[in-house]
Structures are given as C-alpha cells and as structure tokens.
Assembly symmetry: none
Homo-oligomer: 87 residues x 3
C-alpha cells in the first residue's frame, strides 16, 4: 500500500465529503398542470405558479396566497394552474 | 487521538473542500416564446411550457403531450407557448 | 514542508474532489407578479416572464423586449407579468 492509496482510502472511509462538502444536487426544471372546477386552482407545496388558464376563454387572473390561480371573469367553470419546480 | 480523527480534523482545518471542490454550478433560467398559426404551439425538446397565449383574446388553454399549448376557444388563429429551461 | 502543506498537496495530487465530491447546487425557483395599469407590465432585471394576464378577460398577449407582457386586446385596463427567477 502506498501513501497515496492509503490517503485515498482514508478519505473514502471517513466520508469527509458527506460531512463537509455540499450535498449532491442535480436539479431539473419541470411543470405540471393542476385543473379544478370553479375559479380557483392551487399548486401543491414545493411548486410555484408560472401561469394560469381559465374557462369561458377568460385571460384575466391573479395569484392568491402565493400559490393559487384565481380566474376573475364573472362566470367561471374551471381554472388551471401551471405549477413548476426545481427537482 | 486516532489517525482517523486526526485526518478528519486536518481536512476541516485545511478547508480543502473550499479550496479544491467544484464551484457551485451556475445554471440560469431562461424562456422564449414559440408562436404558431392554428390552435397548437409546441415547446422544443429540453424546454418546458410555463404558460400559453391564444388569439381572439382567448385565455382557455391546456397542455397536450406535456409540451404543447392547445387553445380551446372555438375559433382560433394563433397560439403561443412560453418555453422555459434551466441551462 | 509542513504536514499541512503536505496533506493539501496530496489532496490536490490525488484529485479526491473529482472522484468523490459532488458539485453543489443551492438555488430555488421563485415567482412574483408585477401588475400595471395599461397594456404593458415588465419584469424586473434578473427575472424572466413565464406568463401574462390581462384585463377585460383577454388571453392574447406577447412578450416584448424579452421581459414585458403586452396585452393585445383593443381595449385594455391592466396587465400582469408573472416574473420568475432562480436565486
């Protein structure tokens, strides 16, 4: 056993990276749609609303409570939230 | 003090990870628009649909096959997909 | 040569990080809405438009200058840009 191979082995055995180095993360960007009847559609925890679609051809919406699409037109039958995340 | 604890301590003292480990990956988030005539507009491979716009003032759309904006109003002349990626 | 400098040199020579340490990614994806009167709403520097909402139920919009929602319907009272970033 050389000193080099000994140090390399030690490094692995001691899990030094697990203790001291940043955790491994290989994130990708993905989106899904959440469809609901009525005028509200909410994105699940851990996701973010990037846009909304509404029934009756309506393009007037706003985001409520940070994660909920609210379709504003007076008559409304459905709402869809586009929910994205890094995961 | 064992050799293990000594080596561990040394790794921490020497800030080896801070000096030698890969720098944080710096991905950026970008979006482009894909415009098409008709009621469908598709995002290219490697990008994700975050929202859609439609002709005739229409705000009713859904995502088909994961990457295609589908404008739902009965008469439709154009569709635009907003296509985003981490790169 | 001290023991410290020796260990540091060894660490580099052995390419331990390349073998065992992952690259860190520590960013999160967030979005906010920018609301404006008229037909234009712009995302601030460092953020990206992922979708737009418009007054009068209008779902026809496009992105101008890379960061501005432009609501196209003939009469328009407000525009909202959904602005997202990795930070």
């Amino acid at each position: 056993e050389t000193l080099d191979s000994f140090l390399k082995k030690k490094f692995k055995e001691l899990h030094i990276c697990e203790d001291d180095c940043p955790a491994p993360v290989t994130k990708t960007f993905t989106c899904t749609s959440v469809h609901a009847s009525g005028r509200l559609a909410s994105c699940p925890a851990g996701t973010v609303v990037t846009g909304c679609a509404c029934g009756y051809g309506c393009g007037s919406w706003d985001i409520q409570n940070g994660n909920t699409c609210h379709c504003q037109c007076s008559v409304m039958d459905w709402a869809t939230a586009r929910c994205c995340q890094l995961a």
